[in-house]
Symmetry: C2
Subunit: 375 residues, 2 copies
C-alpha cells in the first residue's frame, strides 16, 4: 500500500473514525485504524466492538484528484498515534507507504515516521448493514433528539435495557424515550412519510459518540435498521452500533395528562436559580431541592444539615393552581431545563408525590421527574 493524500482530508477522516477507537480492549487490534486502499479511494474503519465508524474518501472530489495511488493494499495502523502525528503535520500532503507488511511510513515535509503495525488480517470483519427503506432525517434534528433524550438514560447496569434510548414508530410518528426509572425523557418526531414498524433500543453511549460525530458532519442522515444493529449514514461516513437486547418498558401511561398546577418560568432565570441552589448539594449527599409554590412566588430551597442551607425565590411569568410543596433531585431538573431550547418553560404538577413534567411550546418534547417524599 502506497499513496499520497491531501493532509486536511486525511486528518478529517482519521479524526472522524477515531471516535470509535477502543481505549481498553481485550483485542489490541481494535486500537488500530484499518486503512483499505482501492482504485476508488480509501476506506477507514475503527471499532470498539459496540460501535464501528467507517468512512470512504474518494480519489476524486469534484473532479479534483485528492489521492495519488502508487500501490493498492490494506493496513492496521495504531489509531491514536496516527491521529496525533496528523495533528502535528505541517505540510499540504502526506505520503503513506506500507512495507514488509508490518511497518507504515508517514512522510511530510522534513518528517519521516515509521510506525509498527499489527497484521491487518487480524482485523475483525465487520459487516455494514444496509436496508431498502432507511429513515431520513436532517442531522441537526437528530442531534436534538439525542440531546433531549440521552440525559435520562440509566448509568447502572442492573437493568441494561434502561441504558439505551428506545426508538419506536407508530404510523407516521417516531417515539424516542429514555428513563432511568427516576426520570423520563420523551421526544416525538413527526415523519413526512410513514415508515415500517420499528422498536429498537440504542445504547446511550453510542448516541453520545454519534452526537459528537454529527457536530462536525452535518447534512442528510439515513438510518438503517437490522435485527440487532443500527447504522447511521451521513455523507461518506457510516456510524454503526449494536442494539440492546430486551423489552423496553411501556412508558406511555407514566406521563400524566391532567394537571392541577402549572407554572411558567423564564428558562434561563430558572436555571440560574437552581444552579445556585445546587451549590450546596455538590459537596454533600443531599441533592434534593424543595419547591414551595405560593400564589405570587415560588421558593426554591435546599437544606444540607452538614453544610448549610440556601433559599431563593423566583416569580413565575404566569401560574394556574394553588399552594404545593414538592421535592426532587436538582440534577435531574437542571439536566432537563438545559436541553430545552425555548425562552419559556412550563412545569406541570399533579400532586406532591406524583411525577411532574417540564415542557415548552414544543409539545413534542416531555421531560418527566419523579419527586421524592419530603416531610
Amino acid at each position: 500500500m502506497k499513496f499520497r493524500i491531501q493532509s486536511n482530508i486525511f486528518s478529517e477522516g482519521i479524526n472522524n473514525v477515531s471516535r470509535a477507537l477502543s481505549t481498553k480492549t481485550p483485542m489490541p487490534i481494535l486500537k488500530s485504524i484499518k486503512i483499505d486502499l482501492n482504485e476508488e479511494g480509501i476506506y477507514l474503519t475503527a471499532s470498539d466492538s459496540t460501535i464501528t465508524i467507517k468512512q470512504f474518501m474518494p480519489t476524486f472530489i469534484d473532479n479534483k484528484q485528492t489521492i495519488f495511488i502508487e500501490e493498492l493494499g490494506s493496513a492496521a495502523v495504531p489509531g491514536r498515534l496516527l491521529l496525533e502525528v496528523l495533528r502535528k503535520a505541517n505540510d499540504d500532503y502526506i505520503e503513506i507507504n506500507m512495507y514488509e507488511d508490518k511497518y507504515i511510513k508517514i512522510n511530510f515535509k522534513n518528517s519521516d515516521f515509521t510506525l509498527n503495525c499489527l497484521d491487518v488480517m487480524e482485523y475483525p470483519n465487520i459487516d455494514l448493514i444496509d436496508s431498502n427503506e432507511p429513515i431520513e432525517f436532517d442531522s441537526v434534528k437528530f442531534e436534538q433528539i439525542i440531546k433531549q433524550t440521552v440525559i435520562s438514560v440509566s448509568t447502572h447496569e442492573s437493568r441494561p435495557i434502561l441504558t439505551g434510548v428506545n426508538i419506536k414508530s407508530n404510523e407516521n410518528k417516531l417515539y424516542c424515550i429514555s428513563t432511568d426509572s427516576y426520570r423520563l425523557s420523551e421526544k416525538i418526531v413527526e415523519l413526512e412519510t410513514p415508515i415500517p414498524n420499528i422498536n429498537i433500543v440504542i445504547p446511550g453511549k453510542s448516541l453520545l459518540d454519534l452526537e459528537k460525530l454529527l457536530l462536525t458532519n452535518r447534512g442528510k442522515l439515513q438510518i438503517h435498521i437490522a435485527s440487532n444493529i443500527v447504522s447511521f449514514k451521513i455523507k461518506n461516513i457510516t456510524f454503526q452500533s449494536r442494539l440492546l437486547d430486551g423489552n423496553f418498558p411501556e412508558t406511555s401511561r407514566l406521563i400524566p395528562k391532567e394537571f392541577g398546577l402549572q407554572l411558567v418560568f423564564n428558562r434561563i432565570e430558572l436555571i440560574d436559580v437552581v444552579d445556585r441552589v445546587s451549590l450546596l448539594s455538590k459537596e454533600g449527599a443531599n441533592n434534593i431541592i424543595n419547591l414551595d409554590i405560593y400564589d405570587e412566588k415560588t421558593i426554591i430551597s435546599l437544606d444540607s444539615p452538614e453544610i448549610g442551607k440556601v433559599v431563593e425565590d423566583i416569580t413565575p411569568l404566569s401560574q394556574e393552581g394553588s399552594l404545593m410543596r414538592i421535592g426532587f433531585n436538582s440534577k435531574y431538573f437542571l439536566d432537563a431545563l438545559k436541553v430545552l431550547n425555548e425562552e419559556k418553560v412550563t412545569i406541570k404538577f399533579t400532586g406532591e408525590v406524583r411525577p411532574f413534567i417540564i415542557r415548552t411550546n414544543d409539545e413534542f418534547v416531555t421531560q418527566l421527574i419523579l419527586p421524592v417524599r419530603i416531610e
Copy 2:
C-alpha cells in the same frame, strides 16, 4: 460580624486567598477562609500550612466606601463553597452576617445562603513576617524567574532540598537555581542596589502557586526573608511560604565554560520538530531523542522499538564546530526551549557525555541538560 461589600471586590479577594486552601489536610479548619473585620477593613487568610495567603481589603478605596460595617468580628468560612457562591452571585453587593458564632449568612438579590462554620478560635495563628530590608522586584520580572527555573525542580522526595529553587545573593546579583540532578536551570538577576546576604530554598510548588497569583496581581513585589520563611507582598496581598531546610548543592562548577560545538536555531521551529519527534515517546517508555549534528543540518530522531521510529531534519541558522551524536530526554529539552523568550536559541556542547547548555541573547538565563550515553 456583619457587613455589606461590593461583590467584585469581595470575590477577587476570596479568589486570591483561595489558592492557599488545603484540599486534603488533617486539619479541617484549613479548609476555611478566615475573615477578620475591623474598622479599617477586612483581612482574609487562607493557608495549607506550607503557604499562607493574606489579603487586606480597606473600607475605603480612593475615598469611596466599598465596605459598610454593622458589626465587627471574625469567622472561619468554608472556603471552596464561599468561592463558588460568590462566583454565581448576581448582584453588585453581598451581605455577610454571622450569627450564633457558627452560621454565616450570605445574601444578595433573591439568594439567601446559610453556611455552617467552624469555630474561628480553632484557626491557627499564623504570623506574617516583615523585614526592614525587603528585596524589590517588578512582579512580571519575578514571574519570569519562576517560569524559567521551576521546570528543573525535582518532583521526587528522595532529596527534598532539590524540590525547591535556590535563591542566593552575591554582591548586587541574585542567583536563582534549580536542579533535579538531570538538568539545571539558572537565572541571574542584577539588582540596582546591593542587598544583605541571602541563601534560601523556596519549595517549587509554592512558587507555582505564587506565579498564578501574580498573573492577576501585577505591580511592585516586595520579598521579605526570615530564618525559615519567605514572604512576598504585592499590593494588599501577602504570600508567605515555608522554606526548605538543608544545603542546596553548589552548582557553579557544573556549567561548562568552553564549547567545541555551537548551534543556533529558530526557537519555535526547533520546538515544533522536537514536539513532533516526541510523539513516539508519549506512549512508550523511551523518551530519549538523538541529535546527529552534521555540517549542513541536524538530524533529530527517536527510536522506540515497540512503537516505531521518527527522523526529522532541521537546518541551523548558524553553526560552529563539527560532527557529533548526542542523546537526551526530549521532555527536558522541550521544557527548556518553551520557557525562553527570544526568537533564536543557541545550543552549546562540550562532548557527547558532558552536560550541554541552552541559551539565548539573554545571557543571564542558562538551561543545562545532562545527556545519556547512547550506543
